[in-house]
C-alpha cells in the first residue's frame, strides 16, 4: 500500500503527462499500425465480399449476401473444407509430435548438441517456395530421391507415384511439416529449459522411469508451450497456400484443393474478387473458432 501511494504521488506530480495519456501515447503507433494494416484491409475485403466485381467489364454491383449464399451452395465447398481440415490435422500432428520429439532430444546433453540445434533450424530458414520445389523433386516418380532410394535398396520393384489423389494431402503435409517443425522445436525447447534439473534427480531417486518423469515433471512445464505451438501450427496449416500452388497446384485433380487454394484461384486467376473475399471470410470464421477454442483451453487450464 505504501509503495502504491508513493507511485501515485510520483505520477501525479508529473506535470508533463498523466499515466493514462502516457500509456495512450505509447500505444498510438500500434493502433495506427493495426488500423492501416488490419482493420482497413479487413473492412475493404468485407465490402468486396458483398459485391459482384467484373474487372474485365470494369463493373461492380452490390449483391449483399449473395456471394456467401453462393459459397455455401457451391458443390465444391464441402470438398475444399474437408481438404483444409484434413491437411490442418495432418500438419498439426506431424509438427507437434516431431517438434516435441526433436526438442526432447536436443534438451539432452551430448557431444555436438549445439551443432545439431543449428542444423535442425535449417528447414525453417528455407523459404516455403524452396521447400515446395525441393519436395517436388524428392517425390518425383522417375527422378525423385525416395523412388530411387527404395528401388536401389530393393524395397520396391518399380517406381511408384507418391502424390496420388488418395495420399497427396498427407505427403504435402509432410513437406510443409518439414519446413515448420523447427519453429515448434524451439518453442518447446525453450519450455524444457525451464524445468529444474533437481526435479529429475529427485524423481530418479524415487525410482520414476522415463515415461513417468515426462508425465509428472516435463509435461506440466511445457504444457503451455505445446498449446501455443498447437495454435500456431494449426493456424499456419489452415492457410497453407504456397506449398499447394508449387507442389501440387491443387491436384492431382482436386486432391489438394484447400480453401486457400480455391480462394487464390478465384481471386487472382479468375478475378472473381467478390466470391474470393466471401470464401476468405468463411475461412476467417473457421480460424476464429479454432483460435478461440485453443485460448479457452489455455485459460481454462490456467484457471
Amino acid at each position: 500500500m505504501r509503495g502504491l501511494s508513493t507511485q501515485k504521488k510520483k505520477s501525479s506530480s508529473s506535470s508533463f503527462l498523466t499515466d493514462e495519456k502516457f500509456a495512450l501515447m505509447l500505444v498510438i503507433p500500434i493502433i495506427v499500425f493495426e488500423l492501416v494494416l488490419v482493420a482497413y484491409p479487413l473492412s475493404y475485403s468485407f465490402w468486396l465480399s458483398l459485391n459482384n466485381i467484373m474487372y474485365v467489364h470494369r463493373s461492380i454491383t452490390f449483391v449483399g449476401p449473395s456471394n456467401y449464399i453462393a459459397v455455401i451452395l457451391d458443390p465444391g465447398f464441402l470438398g475444399y473444407l474437408v481438404t483444409t481440415l484434413r491437411m490442418t490435422f495432418d500438419i498439426t500432428v506431424l509438427v507437434i509430435l516431431g517438434g516435441l520429439g526433436i526438442a526432447l532430444l536436443l534438451n539432452e546433453t551430448f557431444k555436438g548438441r549445439t551443432l545439431l540445434r543449428m542444423l535442425v533450424l535449417l528447414p525453417w530458414a528455407v523459404s516455403e517456395y524452396c521447400t515446395a520445389v525441393i519436395w517436388r523433386y524428392l517425390y518425383s516418380e522417375n527422378l525423385g530421391f525416395f523412388n530411387s532410394f527404395l528401388l536401389a535398396t530393393g524395397i520396391v520393384k518399380e517406381n511408384f507415384v507418391i502424390l496420388t489423389p488418395q495420399w497427396a494431402p498427407e505427403f504435402l503435409s509432410i513437406a510443409y511439416a518439414w519446413h515448420y517443425t523447427p519453429l515448434i522445436v524451439f518453442f518447446i525447447l525453450a519450455g524444457l529449459q525451464t524445468v529444474p534439473e533437481d526435479l529429475y534427480r529427485a524423481a530418479r531417486v524415487d525410482g520414476a522411469g522415463a515415461i513417468k518423469r515426462f508425465q509428472k515433471i516435463t509435461y506440466p512445464h511445457i504444457r503451455y508451450a505445446i498449446i501455443i505451438s498447437l495454435l500456431l501450427a494449426s493456424m499456419s496449416a489452415a492457410i497453407v497456400t504456397d506449398s499447394v500452388i508449387l507442389l501440387t497446384g491443387g491436384g492431382p485433380g482436386i486432391a489438394t484443393s484447400s480453401l486457400t487454394w480455391h480462394i487464390y484461384e478465384l481471386t487472382f486467376r479468375d478475378m472473381e474478387v467478390g466470391m474470393g473475399a466471401a470464401y476468405s471470410y468463411i475461412l476467417l470464421v473457421i480460424m476464429f473458432i479454432l483460435g478461440t477454442s485453443y485460448f479457452q483451453l489455455l485459460f481454462r487450464k490456467r484457471g
Binding site: 470494369r58 516418380e141 518399380e158 507415384v161 502424390l163 492431382p252
Partner: protein
Amino acid sequence: MSETQKVPEPQNVSRRKFLYYGIGGAIVIVAVGAGAYYLTRSTSTTTGTTGTTIPTSAATNISPTTTASYPAPAEDSIYFDMWPYRPDLVGANVAQYDSEFNDVVNYAVLAGDWTSQIQDKLIAGSKDLDCAYVGTANANTWYNAGWIRGLDDLQVETVAGVDVAYSIDDIKNDLTAPAWDCLLAGSTKKPCYLPYFESAFGNIVTNEKLLEAGGYADTTAKTSTYPKSYEELYAQCQDMQKKGVADSPLLKRWGNESWEMAMVAQIESQARGDPVFDSNGDPSFDVNTPYGDMLKDWQMIYSTKLCPQGVLNMTEGDNITEFETGLHAYSEQHTYDLFTFQDPAQSKVAPNCSIVPPLTTNSPIGYLLVNGFFISNIKESDQRLARKKRFAEFYTYKDSTTGTFYRPKNFMTSTGVGSPYPKVMSDPDVISFVTAHVYRPQDATSMGQLLATAWMPEYLKYSWNSEWVTDQQTILQQCVQGTMTVTDAINAMRTDAQNLKKKYGGNY
C-alpha cells in the same frame, strides 16, 4: 523469493525524455528511408545526357555501352516482365537494345503463376509493367478489358527524338498468314500483340531407340513406322508396354500447369474431328462426339499406366525433364523442344529423338501457338509510348539499326524456338542450326510441315477462354483418374462454358 536477495531498484526514466527520444528516433528512421528511396530512384532512372553509361538489370556479359545517335531517355525505365525461359539470352538481347538505343529496359523474370501476377499489375495500371510475354487467350481477355493496347496504330514516326522505325503493315507483310491471324483480337480483328515465337504445340516427339526395341524403327537405316492417328498411337504404346519395351511408353502433357491439359484436349479432339465449339461459341462436344471417345481413351491410358501416373503433378519443365530420361517412346511437346531432346548434355534420348510428321488420316497434329509480347495501356507521355513501341519492335521484329531480324534469329539459332517470319526460318544460319540438330534430314521438313499445317481455333480468342481452360484442367484431371465419369466431366465442362459465356456477356 528469498528475503536476503536484493532486488535492484527500477531506474526512473523521464517520460519527456522517453518521448523525445522516441519521436527523434522515428524522424531519423523516416529521414533515412526517404534518403535511401531518393538515392535508389536517382540511380535506377537515368536522365543523363547522351554518352553516359546506363545502368541495366541485364545479368549478362554484354556490358551496356553508349551511342551518340539517340538522345538519353527522358523519363523512367521501361519495365518488361518475362516468364522464366532463358533469362540469360533475354538479358543479352535487352542489353543489346539498351546499348544501341541508349535506353533503359528493366526486365524481370516472374516465377510462379504468370497469369495472376500479370493480371495484378494490369488491374493496378502499374507503371512497372510496360511490356510482357503473353499467349493468345490472355491477350484477348486483357485487350477486351482495355488493359493492353491495340497495335493497329503502330506506324513509322519520330516522337520527341524517339524513332519508331516500322509500321504494323511492315510486320504483317513479313509474317505468315496464320501467324498474323493469331495476333488479331477476336473482338475487333485488330492486332493486340506482337509475335515473340511460333510453335506447334502438341507435336509428338519420339525416342527412336525405344521404337526400335518395339519393332517400330530402325536406327541404322533411320526409318520408322509412325502412327497415323491417335488411336494408332495408343495401340503402338500398348504393344510396346506388352513387349516390355517401356513401363509407360507414352508421356502425355497432363501436368499441373493451368493451360496444359485443356490445350492437349483441344488439339486431340479437333484432330479426331470434333470442332468442340460451334460458330456461336456454344459447346458442341458431347459424350457421343469424338471428344467423348478421347476421354475414354485417356482413362484407359491412365488406368493401364501407358502414361506415368505422376504426370498429373508435373510442371512443363518437369515434363521435359521426364522425357529426357529416355524412359518413354512418345511424348506431346512443342516443336522447338526437339532441340532440347537432341542435346546430349541434358537428354538421354539424344541423338535419337525425332518428330512425327503430320498425320494423314486425321487433321494435322499441332496447335499453332504464336506467343507474343503486349504493350500495356497506361497513362504516359507520347515519348514514353514511342520508346515502348521501339523496344517491342526490336524484340519481336527487326533491329532498326541494322534492319535485320536480330532477336528472332538470335533466339532461333540459340534455342531452336521458331519464328513466324519465313525470312528468319529460311536464313542460312537457321537452316544449318536445324540441320545440325535433327535426327535425320527429313525431320527438318516435318517440322516445317507441322508449323505450316498447325491451326489455332477461334474459341481461343474468347474473353472467357482463359478461365475455361483453368476450370477444364481440374475436371479433366479428375476424369482421367476415373474419379469423375466421362459423362459427368463433359456435362461439367459444357455447363461451365455456358456459364462463363453468360458471365462475360458473350464471347468477346
